[in-house]
Symmetry: C2
Subunit: 674 residues, 2 copies
């Protein structure tokens, strides 16, 4: 471990845990980094980004007002941007990671407990210019954007309109007289709302608006709009822009609102790669390959899955290390208070979180690699598997964000009261991940998209048509008998597939019954959505289980024996855990018996005990530097109580022995003079 | 509704919902207030507490730093305390509510989005003086405390010690020479930590410490300790006191730490009702009735259950009203975008939250009334049912706080992105309720206490001994056959009891197997704790279901027909919802079939549609004034988008067109001069 050095005084309980870990921690680190070379490169990047200490605050931003937090985040964003341009860019081999590489982005977590106000500049503004501009447009905008001479964001969502993009109200009406578009916000609900950085930071913005030309609406299109003066940053005339106010998290991101009062922009500011308006106002649709749109969407979701897995890994690290240090109760009067990590209920809360962090990280990589391979093959024009990848990325995004948020809270609960403190480092993880459940596609909406794909696939299976790989198992629904239960890992995965198939079949049956009773297809679908969401969740769980297991088997093929054992234990734990969470479905859709489930429960409890001695080693293998954890409870040295007190003493409320509120309010009241 | 007035412009969708509500909203309000008179009194209290506008901030505290928030909260606490002493105290009939009445405390929610720094003064300091002081001690301390000449808190938890009170390290050693106790914090982990108000506000504190006299330890006892000078509020010598730093919520409560360096207090400052140390150092245990301790504990938990139900009701009100206003997607191209409340998935998220708020409020009242009745009867000395009430209050506290936190998040998710904004009013509800899951007894620890009682009761049932009422159903475990499924409400409640009995039986069987295999009783218990927690949860669910149903039947006996119908629908919904969440257990422990469960799912979906037209009426019946909701999404008039924008414009970040961070950081970077 990089963080071990001879001077460091480590909590003796934590040192003992590390001594008894029976596998090679570094080997596991390499597995999840994608190989030893990647680990080395990651460490090099972290050294460059973190060792200077530029990320440090003199006063922690948890003590600041939202406005102060924002200003401090701008300060650090500029430092970070400069580092990206200079020190980090000079690292050899950097290009293999790319600018948006999660590995680099992760170092930003040392600088920002929440996020940088530049997040959408690199995350959406630049990629949209790359993806939706003509080459001429790109050559105009891209160099200035990459050099941060201009800073931009992406404004699509409106105050009254989110998921349903066709419902957006902002208009861009072409005026052939002046060869300009007139941007307008006809109502309050049409104000753009939420775009990160929009409030005070950016001077440019991609705006998605309904395009009108020659009296006809052609649907939503993107436009690049200057909103603030490049010299003094004042909002331009016809533009109303500001910040939307405090949120649960993302408070350093100055999410903003934006309204237009007949604001004019040049015709060339429409992003014209996929559609154009000619000088005379003629609308021309350019043939567009669906691949591109899918590509960006799948990529954004892959990054999100990766990011929530990373944040879940942080929560695990904090909660497991602290649980090895915290001692509580004395079930045996003649023994010391046990480490809380020794309690089965604690292991039950924490080990599934470790396994899930592994599972989601591997699924994210697997999805991206499979998708890239398919894209490469697809040059011939075969786009058959695109809907499958869209459906997969939808449900993976929904389930990974939801599972991670839930498990981060579970890690916090496992830390007792201290988990509630900001200095534990967990609350801001929850606030961040909890938001990812909603943005870039709401949980329920995404699962219903996957469900639509599953129902189509089911109908194909029914018609004996071939199925794409991840839904091939839907054939189980037509086997005529319940799938045979078998508690081996492969047996459990098969059962998860069987119950997903059973749930899809049940949804289809219900919808057909409702349609026979006279309901329209739309209404029958709507009335079945609760079950359709559950079916999509079951499908996703089956895919995650299968992928996690297969990837671990593949990636540990050459591992040392003990690494193989502990990785096998965790995949098995994931399967047992979810089987025990889905006993009703298993009883309905497989041959499992009450006795089988009772045995599985006992086997699950035994597995927890087996994983227990390696628990600290497992979270050490995430190799998360203290700078990224921001946690008094989770730091590598385990000086938990010392750090909690050190953090408390930093509070401005402890700078004076008596707060001003005493003489102003308390004293008059206590002396009866109020 | 009080909030309707002719000048108020109400969102037309919300007005339409109110017009179509088919039951008498006020009748339902009366049911949950406990009768019409209580409603009238509540409204009178709210008028007095809220109409003056004293609760208003010129700048919302979400825009402040934690220190500013605290100072503002002290200001308002003093205003509120003065109002309690004057205007509110003068209200006739007030005494029937009592000082700690939830009805009065709720009005404080208009003043504090989080809590008052005086919370533990009235909530713990005063009650401890009342409960644990001798009459002489009371006459010394109580008048000054009630008049707020001194302000106190209650410090038990230490940095390294929470639930396990015997593990506390702070010592109080009696010195007969000077007739004083010497308070000392021997280690960092022995520092008191968490007490609300301790950081900067209070000048007195109840301290729980290990009592040593004549060289012997007599366990933990409470002492009253002055910690700050009464004239200048400076910490006294030998006292180290401060604030513990920012938390997820409760940031206005200045939770504090406290350490002693051989700090001396007079012998009389030990609270001597239950035990005394005589002048010569002799320790005398005063005979103590268990009733008292149980009484306080049950009371605190009853108040907590009531409080989380109240906060859940707020979240429901916000999410249901907003869902009636928000429109999204267009499943039928020729129709307008539907209200999101029309979607089954949305109803699935929200209606269970309404039913749960009802269930928990009724359970809290029922528990308190039954317990009070038992206490009154108990003067003869019969304390048989005390363990039952302790077990009940433990699991009810655990399940109500956990369910409420989960459902508040579900309400937030139902509000999409806007639920993430502080101005939605939901995030601070979650932060508050989420803490209640841990304090006053952690979720897992409390459920294991209930489980211990259940296992004992099971063994009594096995030995054919009589059982107390709430566990009488454990006899099912010995019936020899599965309980017959029946989808009537009573049938489902019976099934919930059967599955709880089945789970307890299974735990006992596993523990016995483990003990036969050579494990000690302690180890066999520990290895079964995951299942024991699940059994206690099942027991609690059965009790809540049974109580909710019976109380509604009783309380609506004289209601108008439509009120009866809608209340019956909600209790039924609660039962269907939880049956569908526990299909595995039902299949194992009752005769339910796969077909029965499929039918139940369809019946559940139909029930959602039946409740839908009355949804806004149901949340209106909570009768929560806008001042208590603090929500742009949930206000009575439904001016959602106008209010979101109004709140945004209040942000200090919108006060200047260009933030200072531009000239300081952004401009130099963008102009390449960084």
């Amino acid at each position: 471990m990089t963080q071990t050095n001879t001077d460091m005084k480590v909590n003796p309980d934590l040192a003992m845990e590390r001594a008894k870990c029976n596998f090679n921690v570094l080997e596991v680190t390499h597995i999840f980094d994608g190989g030893e070379n990647n680990t080395l490169m990651r460490k090099k990047i972290e050294d460059v980004a973190l060792n200077s200490g530029a990320w440090k605050d003199t006063l922690g931003d948890e003590h600041m007002s939202p406005k102060e937090k924002y200003e401090n985040a701008v300060r650090k964003s500029c430092l970070y941007a400069s580092m990206m341009k200079n020190e980090l860019a000079e690292l050899s081999g950097l290009e293999s990671f790319g600018v948006s590489s999660p590995v680099i982005r992760r170092t930003a977590d040392a600088f920002f407990k929440e996020v940088s106000p530049f997040l959408l500049h690199l995350g959406m503004f630049v990629p949209t210019i790359m993806g939706q501009c003509t080459p001429e447009q790109q050559s105009h905008w891209l160099p200035r954007a990459l050099d941060m001479q201009i800073i931009g964001t992406y404004a699509q969502t409106e105050l009254g309109h989110g998921t349903f993009i066709r419902g957006l109200e902002t208009t861009a009406t072409y005026d052939p007289e002046t060869e300009e578009f007139v941007l307008h916000s006809p109502t309050l609900s049409s104000y753009k709302w939420w775009a990160g950085g929009l409030g005070n930071t950016v001077n440019y913005c991609i705006v998605v608006a309904q395009l009108y030309t020659k009296g006809e609406c052609h649907g939503t299109h993107p436009f690049i709009v200057q909103i603030r003066d490049e010299d003094n940053h004042m909002p331009l005339p016809g533009i109303k822009v500001g910040e939307i106010g405090p949120k649960m998290g993302f408070n350093t991101a100055d999410n903003g609102f934006l309204g237009f009062n007949k604001h004019r922009i040049p015709r060339e500011h429409m992003l014209m790669k996929n559609a154009q308006v000619l000088k005379d106002g003629t609308y021309v649709k350019v043939a567009r390959h669906g691949k591109l749109t899918y590509g960006t969407m799948v990529f954004v979701r892959v990054v999100l899955v990766n990011e929530v897995a990373f944040n879940l890994a942080k929560a695990c690290t904090i909660a497991v290390r602290y649980s090895a240090i915290r001692r509580q109760s004395r079930p045996k009067p003649d023994e010391a208070e046990p480490q809380v990590l020794d309690y089965a209920t604690q292991q039950h809360k924490l080990f599934i979180a470790i396994a899930t962090a592994h599972a989601l990280q591997l699924c994210s990589t697997w999805l991206w690699e499979s998708f890239s391979a398919v894209l490469a093959q697809m040059k011939g024009g075969n786009t058959d598997t695109l809907p499958e990848f869209h459906a997969l990325s939808s449900c993976l995004k929904a389930i990974s964000t939801s599972d991670s948020a839930h498990l981060i809270e579970q890690c916090r609960h496992a830390c007792g009261g201290h988990g509630y403190m900001i200095s534990s480092g967990i609350p801001h993880l929850y606030n961040f991940v909890s938001a990812t459940r909603t943005y870039e596609g709401d949980y329920t909406v995404l699962l219903l998209q996957t469900a639509r794909f599953l129902v189509k696939a089911y109908e194909q299976a029914e018609a004996k048509q071939p199925l794409t790989p991840t839904v091939a198992y839907l054939a189980y629904a037509f086997s005529g008998s319940k799938t045979t239960w078998d508690s081996s890992p492969d047996g459990i995965i098969r059962s998860f597939q069987a119950l997903s198939a059973g749930k899809v079949a049940s949804c289809v049956a219900n919808m057909r019954t409702r349609m026979r009773a006279g309901l329209s297809q739309v209404d029958a679908w709507e009335m079945s959505t609760i079950q359709l969401v559950a079916a999509a969740e079951a499908h996703c769980r089956a895919v995650i289980s299968d992928t996690y297991r297969k990837e671990i088997v593949r990636l540990t093929a050459n591992s040392s024996p003990n690494v193989k054992v502990v990785m096998d234990q965790l995949t098995t734990l994931y399967l047992y855990y979810w089987a025990l969470e889905r006993t009703g479905d298993l009883l309905m859709y497989t041959s499992v018996s009450q006795k089988d489930l009772a045995d599985l429960q006992i086997a699950y409890e035994a597995l927890l005990s087996k994983i227990r001695p390696n628990a600290v080693g497992l979270v050490d293998a995430f190799d998360l530097r203290d700078e990224l954890l921001h946690s008094a409870l989770g730091s590598y040295d385990g000086r938990v109580y010392e750090r909690l007190m050190e953090e408390a003493l930093k509070s401005p409320m402890n700078k004076e022995p008596v707060n001003d509120a005493y003489s102003k309010y308390l004293r008059p009241m206590m002396k009866g003079k109020l």
